[in-house]
Amino acid sequence: MRTILFIIQKEFKQIMRNKGMLPIIFVLPLLQLLILSNAATFEVKNIQLSYVDYDKSTSSKELVDKFRASSYFAVLESFPSKKLADEAMEKGKVEVVLEIPLHFEKNLIKDKKADLAVYINAIDGAKAGVENVYVNQIVGQFNQNIMLKAFQQQGQMARPMQVTTIPSFWYNNTLNYKTYMVPGILVLLITMLTLFLSGMNIVREKEMGTLEQINVTPIKKHQFIIGKLFPFWVLGMVIMTIGLLISKFVFAVPLIGNIGLIYLFSSVYLLVILGMGLLISNYTDTQQQAMFIAWFFVVIFILMSGLFTPIESMPKWAQNITLFNPIRYFVEVIRMVMLKGSGFKDIYFQLIIISLYAVLMNGLAVLSYKKTN
């Protein structure tokens, strides 16, 4: 125990002394949290929309006004012909082009239906999908009004049967993407920070030759590893705390559940990541190698965490891979607890998995750490 304390003391001194690393440890992740949380949005706004109006009727103007009224669209000048509109799309000046054909109003009143062409730049498929939905919503509302008007003109008071869906979003009822993203991004940042720090740390001692000196001492493997990992565990918890404060006071992310559960889960989760870092440093000889391997895992973990793309929409084999992704469980848990107010029973399953993972990682790390060769 005393030996471990001496190692911990030494590690903290080294961390605190490293004027280059301190800001990297404390400031960068929080800056990233502030920047990424504001930037990583799934909302599509300011869609550049233009139109070609061959009808030039009251209805066509009303339709365009509907788009003007929407905050999602920035309506540009109209084009005299479809050909010019195509050119503008080619040049990337417009995202969406609405083509209102001749006799649009006439058909609408006479046949109760009219065709409308919409052209969407689909280089970014996801964005195009969202734009399509927005266009449909606005046109749908417009159509409804127009039909209503038509009926009224004919003196009929009875309204046509209409089915509209009223979505009700639970747990994040304003669909505020920050509420959704901030906890997830916080998980990523903590993971990267602690993985890199622990992965680099022991390799650095290898590079400097101090590890050999340590290996000549009667220090026990577990003493060394605990002494090495504990300071980073503390760092991870501190960053976690600052991150939670930021999400509460800067992003106003609700914290419905018990914060203790988040800390319970993070304390085990950090052990997984630190064990992984240690494992990496055992199999590498230079900080460069360790960095690249750590990056390899981090990129896969992040992209397959369910943070940016829902796990449910991945192919089956990819879904199976995510079962081995610790970030996946933490993202799930932090969202469940913060946004949904889940209790211990709800995160029990994830907690068991992550605990087993922690035992496995650190077990492997201890086994692969060799004092002799």
């Binding site: 030996t3 003391q9 001194k13 080294q14 050999e212 290996n215 000549v216 001492t217 009667p218």
Partner: protein, 244 residues
Amino acid sequence: MEREKIIEVKDLTKSFGDFTAVKSITFDVYKGEIFGFLGANGAGKTTAMKMLIGISTPTSGSATVGGFNVFTQADLVKRNIGYMSQKFSMYDDLTIKENITFFGGIYGLSRKQIKEKIKQVLVELDLEQVANNLVGSLPLGWKQKLAFSVALLHEPKIVFLDEPTGGVDPITRRQFWELIYAEANKGTTIFVTTHYMDEAEYCNRVSIMVDGTIEALDTPKNLKEQFNVDSMNAVFLKLARNIE
């Protein structure tokens, strides 16, 4: 006079795949002597030494250090030896005091003992002025002397020095050897590798390794007589040339 053997090595061998770095070496080191372990680069000195200090497992043979088997009692071996590597290995980003505290701590010294050791080392090496300076900021010669003192913190029976004076000036080397002598006079056994043949002259006994085997082992005086030359340098060259 029958002297106490503190290191006993018999048929010690280390292979890395097809390459045998140390070929069945056998020798003894007596308590309290300064034992010079010489050899050209790549002759297997460092590999042999690493087996003796318990960070490399021998392929075959046997060795005891301080009465403990390097195969089965590596931890006890480590408790009883000090080691200073050719690559300077203290923490550059810690101060002198902090380094001594750390290494003293992991060897199990009490806080009080550590305090005394810090005082003692600082006085002996005349480093009181820079006690709170980072080790990284010290000149190499000071670092080496400090590393030697740190290797002795837990008062080991044997201290292994792997090219301790590499890259330092002749005056510092001289001072370093004075430290070695002072320590040997206290009864500590010194096992030292070096490339400097003048340093070999300071040793009680010298072994010369060539291509993984020990080609000569005796006092410098006897070796010079045996090869009929007047310096250890000449002995070394003769041996190395014979092999080629």
